[in-house]
Amino acid sequence: MSLASDPEGRAPESVVEVTNPTVREYLDAYWTRVKSGDLGSLPIIFGLIAIAIIFSSQSDVFLSAPNFVNLIRQSAGLILIAIGVVFVLLIAEIDLSVGFVSAVVGVSMTLLLRQSGPDWAWWFVIPLVLMLGAAIGALHGTIVTKARVPSFVVTLAGFLGWSGVVLILTTEFTDSGTILIRDDVVIGIANSFFSDFWGWVLAIVAVGAYAVLQLAKRRARSRAGLPVRPMLIISAQVTALAVVAVVAVAVANSDRGVPMVALLLLGALVFWSFIASRTRFGRHIYAVGGNPEAARRAGINVDRIRIAVFMISSFMAGVGGIVLASRLRSVDPAAGGGNLLLNAIAAAVIGGTSLFGGHGKVVSALLGALVIASLDNGLGLIPNLPSGVKFVVTALVLLAAVLVDSFTRRRQQSSGIA
């Protein structure tokens, strides 16, 4: 179906007057949005700054270069899993199985790489086990959509079932249950670093790509006769990103260098953000989360979107599982357990993704996981702190994030209906 082609279908071009906002008007509009409750990532960025200030006053180690590099490596697996959780929350579903699905994928990979076992090559094993992850998601999604069982129950069964599978797989081949990874490439995923030079190249390419994309978008809008953002704002954003990138790379280079896994994180964030906000598939995910009935009437295959989202969730859990296994250089029966699942869901929610569907961004996985990992890291540096405090503090931060979300949503509703 095409757009109205009859002469009356569209207004004459001349009717549309283009008035580009000035910097002042743009900032005013932004401030109005903030005041009416559209805070975006502001609360969490202030939260991260507060965390940095508090812990650096308590411990000299917190803001040191080695700890910064460790923070990235510690949070990498969590961020990757939380990206998948963001997608599930976007369609107002839940996936409680991501922790153990990540372990199933990590353990399967380790078993297939064993020199005393199949001894397959890493470039064959990794795609294979990631497909296994996606297949697990397809199974969950199919049961949720076709049998109309709530995702909470289906993935709770997955939580129990896949934890059993992890236990069976790990104890089947060893007595202790711990299986070491010997493949250098796989170990290198989470344990190797870029040289100083390539660290800088990464920073320059990332900032350059961002600038080019912003300018291309501006040009496309300008050519279509639509209002564009002031050039000053775009250059300020690019400069801010450049400063962050330069500081991060300089700090990392003063230690061991930029971790290789940072490239994987960056790639995953860019790729999934693109899918979520720039493709038809992503648009339909938001529509299914916002109003499934409207999506259905618009001709969107709602069930297919739901199944695909559960596949994304399990796939990203698998990617995270590979990174976690790589960092530990081994897997054991405890893989995927502990607080991994709860931290992944908490990361997505703290980052600003709504549990009620339709609201949230992929980058919230990064921001929320950074908050959780830096709390974990920072509280671990304070001597003589009872370990229970860590959980209590994380709980309070999670609660605060949900309260901010609920408060801003109500604010938006009350100010929206003008």
Binding site: M1, S2, L3, A11, H284, A295, G299, A418
Partner: protein, 256 residues
């Protein structure tokens, strides 16, 4: 509007049964380009069933659908859309979390190169369609629907319907949830659709609204068409009588 011109959409003797319940009994209905046809009747008169048959949600048990002079079969909602018939339901079916542009193009997004949404082109087309309908109350087509008033939402839903080369627009209770000023805006909008040459069917309980915009009125009662009026040649009193006491050929359950 004079009685000349071929109807663009015509139902001939359509019936629909749900078990023993006869929701529609040999109903004739038609609408022409450039006119507003009101469909009125009490609750349970068969208005919704009639529209759902056109929408492809139900299939009539008997009777014929004629579109542009040709008998057509409607097997599903996509057939209706392909013919150029758009239906704006009472609940509007907008996604609150998406902006106006995303809602207007939902399910029919424009794609540039392999996979990317063509946001600039969609925004421009949305703005142009809203402007052509003289919808001026929207500050930005990039604001989410959650922040719009009832009248603005209705306007977005109608604009969404007319953007797709549609020839017939069916509006289900478009003013039911609106205040006075917003009802005014929507009725103006309905009239503009007809002025642009579209065929408009409006379902409403509010006879005052109907007499403001409709050229002709079809009255359903107990699943049958009991009257058809030129709006200029009748009054509210007469229509109310038809709705509540119009002569039906057969009353379900009554053997006369």
């Amino acid at each position: 509007m004079s009685d000349t011109g071929e109807p663009i959409l015509q139902l001939k003797g359509v019936s629909k049964h749900f078990g023993a319940v006869r929701a529609l009994v040999k109903v004739d209905f038609e609408v022409r380009l450039g006119e507003v046809m009101a469909l009125v009747g009490d609750n349970g008169a068969g208005k919704s069933t009639l529209v759902k048959g056109i929408a492809g949600i139900y299939r009539y048990d008997e009777g014929e659908i004629v579109f542009e002079g040709k008998a057509v079969k409607i097997h599903g909602p996509s057939d209706t859309a392909d013919l150029g018939i758009e239906i704006v339901y009472q609940d509007l079916a907008l996604a609150d979390n998406l902006d106006v542009v995303a809602n207007m193009f939902l399910g029919r997004e424009e794609i540039r190169r392999p996979y990317r949404l063509n946001e600039a082109s969609m925004e421009k087309a949305s703005r142009a369609t809203l402007d052509s309908l003289s919808v001026t109350t929207l500050a930005s087509v990039r604001q989410t629907v959650a922040g719009l008033s009832g009248g603005q939402r209705q306007a977005v839903a109608v604009a969404k319907a007319v953007m797709w080369n549609s020839k017939v627009v069916i509006l289900d209770e478009p003013t039911a949830a609106l205040g006075v000023a917003q009802t005014r805006q929507v009725l103006d909008l309905v009239r503009r659709l007809a002025d642009r040459g579209l065929a408009v069917v409006i379902i409403s309980h509010n006879l005052h609204d109907i007499f403001e915009v409709a050229h002709r009125i079809t009255v359903l009662r107990l699943g049958q068409r009991v009257a058809r009026y030129e709006a200029s040649e009748t009054n509210q009193q007469e229509v109310v009588e038809a709705i509540t006491a119009g002569t039906v050929e057969s009353v379900p359950g009554m053997t006369t």
